[in-house]
């Protein structure tokens, strides 16, 4: 019988399987233990693995990140929860100046298999400007980190296991707007390596790249445009670092048209980075100007009507696709 799991349950399952199969794995963070996490993504782990493997911390994100670093240097595999990704700001130094650079600065004396899980994005939920950001974009200019942005329950499971197995620091962004989406799990879970994109829909007319909650509007736009005979290819990079440029380039070779859709403003974003890489490396592939459908260049407003305008909508994606295919 196929099992159906939510994105959140898939995440819990990945941690549970890792805790069960590797004694050096532990899970910790604020209220992840007895309470099962603010997002309930660690539910049941405390009961199953006990207080030695699943630990509640004080509200001290700097201490959390540092503990993860030290433990990893000593060969453990810490999985820390930072709750809302926006709180990465209070431990930014630990992530950017210590975690990302330790291996390099010490000439490779050790590896740092740290996984930092955080509930990211989720604009649209009315959580306001300090609890809804697409925080993955803060870390792009920092060498030494891997950035994972799963969109489906299966990917959430596979990528979280890959992240925990990975010898390098991984920031694992769980999209808050996806926690409750459901999917059937395959009987045998596939192995997904960090740095491999997923083609979410095949098409020959335009390549659309999006992650997490932005995939749905893209797929909806693709369905809508199919009626008009526009075949949209939708690609989910799944990890921003490493980035699977090859899959995107292969698609672009067929479509010669590019749209990127992202739940973040343009400046300093992964979308801008991708467009810049592609035009530098594959200029001749572009038949028309690429378009990024980005969130607006403001903090995220609270009121529903405003927040909805902030986020890229299906209508905006359709418009962008029409523009690039008709240019």
């Amino acid at each position: 019988m196929t099992e159906t799991l939510t994105y959140k349950q898939a995440i819990t399952r990945a941690m549970s399987d890792e805790l069960a199969s590797d004694d050096s794995v532990f899970v910790f963070g604020e209220d992840v233990g007895a309470a099962g996490g603010v997002f309930k993504a660690t539910e049941g782990l405390f009961e199953e693995f006990g207080p030695g493997r699943v630990l509640d911390t004080p509200i001290s994100e700097q201490a959390i990140v540092g503990t993860a670093i030290g433990a990893a240097i000593q060969g453990l595999r810490p999985v820390a929860e930072i709750m809302f990704a926006d709180f990465a700001a209070v431990c930014f130094d630990g992530i950017v100046n210590e975690l990302a650079k330790y291996r390099y600065m010490t000439g490779g004396q050790v590896t740092l298999p740290v996984t930092l899980r955080m509930g990211a994005g989720g604009a649209g939920g009315g959580f306001g400007a300090q609890h809804s950001q697409a925080v993955e974009n803060w870390f792009l200019n920092v060498a030494g980190l891997k950035l994972v942005v799963p969109a489906t329950p299966v990917d959430a499971y596979c990528l979280l296991r890959a992240a925990i197995r990975d010898p390098d620091p991984v920031l694992f962004f769980e999209h808050k707007g996806l926690y409750n989406i459901k999917a059937d799990m395959p009987d045998e879970m596939p192995t997904v390596s960090l740095g491999t994109a997923r083609v979410a829909r095949r098409g020959n007319d335009v390549t659309v790249i999006a992650t997490q909650a932005m995939l749905q509007p893209c797929l909806d736009a693709a369905t809508a445009l199919a009626v008009d005979g526009v075949e949209v290819e939708v690609i989910d990079p799944r990890t921003l670092v490493p980035f699977d440029l090859e899959t995107v380039v292969t698609s672009l070779q067929r479509t010669n048209r590019l749209v990127v859709v992202q739940e973040a403003s343009h400046a300093g974003s992964w979308g801008a980075t991708l467009v810049s890489s592609l035009v530098q490396g594959q200029f001749e592939l572009f038949d028309s100007a690429p378009v990024i459908v980005a969130a607006e260049d403001t903090p995220i407003p609270f009121a529903k009507s405003l927040e909805e305008l902030w986020i890229p909508s299906t209508a905006k994606v359709v418009e962008a696709i029409r523009k690039v295919v008709s240019a």
Partner: protein, 326 residues
């Protein structure tokens, strides 16, 4: 709410009745928020503080115009106690154009600069350094204004707390740090995250006076706050107040608060700050009719405020692009 002229004086009966009315309005406001949330009319999260009203109201009664207050996401009480209008506070939580922040902040960011309610902050510890800034401005200009800063027990474990306490002390800033110890940080009991029973002990690490007070007793809270405020005002520097209190509801809308030991809530419901205050007033000779009138007035003003707020329009779409820069 009327503020005292001379903060160090004990509250008159009228002032106490005033304080009661404010507490009742806050309670009514938060009860309504709870209902609105359940009805799906408020989005995101909301953090209610029923049971903690005396901390905010007692403190606000010790302030004067020009003083400033900063608080957390659990900041409805403090914001209203400073004098933010009920209707515009509802409006903000409902995401209306007339909301305190034009609908751009939401429940976790109620701010009404005009009344000195300088903001509700959703990052734990984030506002403590800012409270130092308000105090610095006061000292810089010699205005005597005092900066009051509310935060939770759990917040005393975050770095920003430490830096702010230290800076305030070494610079002798006119700031009063008020820790609302409600025994829990989210779902974690204090002792599981903090190796102390009495947070007030942390003050000595900054050579700062520390005071522990029953945060459910309006009068005691006012007295403690008054003393700290007048120290601050007269240039003697900051004080750390640990106010012992309790939240009747869960941490946020999604929390059924199962982590509570049996009977704990009941004990604290017995110590409800509003009912305690009523009791004190009755004992002091205030007529029960007057109290009933205050209850009714508060209920009316809350209901009226909510009705107005519900009828306000959504923010104009263009407003979302304003206020990123000046």
């Amino acid at each position: 709410m009327g503020r005292t002229k001379d903060a160090s004086t004990a509250l008159t009966l009228d002032q106490q009745v005033d304080g009661l009315r404010t507490m009742l309005e806050i309670r009514g406001f938060e009860d309504e928020c709870h209902r609105l949330f359940a009805a799906g009319l408020v989005r995101g999260s909301t953090h209610l503080g029923q049971g903690q009203e005396a901390v905010s109201v007692g403190t606000a009664l010790a302030l004067r115009d020009g003083d400033t207050m900063t608080c957390t996401y659990r900041g409805h009480a403090a914001t209203l106690a400073m004098g933010a209008p009920l209707d515009r506070s509802f409006g903000e939580i409902l995401g209306k154009a007339e909301g305190l922040c034009g609908g751009k902040g939401g429940s976790m960011h109620l701010t009404h600069v005009e009344s000195g309610a300088m903001g509700s902050f959703a990052i734990v510890g984030g506002h403590l350094p800012i409270a130092c800034g308000f105090a610095f401005a006061s000292r810089f200009r010699g205005t005597g204004e005092v900066s009051v800063c509310f935060f939770g027990d759990g917040a005393t474990n975050i770095g920003a707390f430490h830096e702010s306490m230290n800076l305030a002390s070494v610079w002798k800033l006119p700031v009063v740090f008020i820790c609302e110890n409600n025994l829990y940080g989210e779902y974690s009991p204090l002792r599981s995250t903090t190796p102390l029973d009495h947070l007030v002990e942390r003050a000595s690490s900054y050579a700062m006076p520390g005071v522990q007070v029953d945060g459910n007793d309006l009068m005691k809270m006012h007295a403690a706050a008054s003393e700290a405020v007048s120290c601050a005002r007269s240039g003697e520097g900051p004080t750390f107040i640990e106010a012992l209190t309790y939240r009747h509801k869960g941490h946020s809308r999604s929390d059924p608060a199962k982590y509570r030991p049996e009977g704990e809530l009941e004990v604290w419901l017995e110590k409800d700050p509003i009912e305690q205050c009523v009791q004190t007033l009755l004992e002091a000779g205030v007529k029960s009719e007057r109290i009933e009138q205050v209850r009714a007035d508060a209920a009316t003003s809350v209901a009226g405020a909510l009705e107005r707020a519900m009828n306000w329009p959504e923010p104009l779409p263009a407003s979302r692009l304003e206020h990123v820069y000046a």
